[in-house]
Symmetry: C2
């Protein structure tokens, strides 16, 4: 099975989906994108649940019954044997550490605040205070880690950067001010340049 | 660097820490366990933050400045080149899919309900209704996946099972009734036998 041709089911406003777009485009992979509107139940249809029984986007279909969900698991699979994943076992472990941290300690706060504003139309002041606090802490943790570093792991662009970039570059849409975090804003520009994003 | 000798900083009541104990013991690894009481601030001391700047247990110190956090990242690192991780790239991707699902869609619900009861002394009826609902959905998703299967991926015990087992076998302490989920209870016993747990 080749990972170089697949169907990506996703939502183009979702950072979790955009991660895969960023990586796949950088790797020059050939794929088709099927829009799934999570706000109108399209991630709960029998057709979609056949691709991902968990009912979450993104989900990828490689054909032949091989489907894969969880954005960071897809990133790791697509990036295998590429420059986006270190060969050194310990550096790979550090990439994994950041991928799990992103899903547990960043996405549920930074992304969900943005979800409430972008998808549900709330204002910044209507965000949940406890969630905002944890999101700010996550952004501060990234800012501290990036001191003296170009990228998150091993001084090279990896899927750790791509996973963290997706929602961090959109954090302003969740009411967060990145301008007081110079390491973070410099890193975002560095990643956007490396990935040839607009 | 060998992964076979390390110091594990953790809390023996934490499923995220027990995952590493289960895997390391099954693999016959040599390690020392340092108790960190997260309820008395021991995960926020300068000494601990030097091991894991994110201030979370478990964290592992392999010596030589090599530290690693995030339970499932540690599992993947310890299990490399062992029977707990498939060699087939797609099966490895499916293991990763379950590891990320566990941290995003299972642990924040099943484990946090247990945290409220075991660590904070709340009763089952004092649990948050929205969190209970998501925890029940996660347990139902596992029950459905296990139909006709012995283990989560590739019909062999893997770190996916270990990661999911840790908090699922303790779900009763979070007020959940597993008895109406026969696939899940059979799988728990199967894993406990394979891992030689009490």
């Amino acid at each position: 099975m080749s990972a170089s041709t697949f169907t990506l089911y996703g939502d183009r406003r979702s950072g979790n989906c955009l991660k895969i777009v960023y990586a796949a485009d950088w790797l020059g992979l050939v794929y088709s994108f099927v829009d799934i509107d999570i706000m109108t139940g399209e991630s709960r249809t029998p057709e979609f649940l056949a691709v991902n029984p968990a009912g979450q986007v993104p989900a990828v279909d490689f054909g032949g019954g091989k489907t894969l969900a969880q954005s960071n698991a897809v990133l790791l699979f697509l990036a295998e044997h590429s420059a986006l994943l270190p060969q050194d076992p310990f550096l790979r472990a550090k990439v994994n550490e950041w991928l799990f941290w992103e899903q547990y300690s960043h996405e549920p706060y930074v992304s969900v605040c943005r979800f409430h504003m972008v998808y549900q139309g709330k204002t910044a002041s209507e965000r949940e205070a406890w969630r905002v606090e944890r999101a700010e802490a996550a952004l501060d943790h990234m800012e501290a880690h990036l001191a003296g570093k170009s990228f998150f792991v091993g001084e090279a662009l990896s899927v750790a950067d791509i996973a963290l970039l997706a929602y961090t570059r959109l954090a302003g849409e969740g009411g967060f001010d990145l301008s007081r975090r110079p390491n973070l804003t410099t890193w975002i520009t560095r990643c956007e340049t490396a990935l040839e994003l607009a």
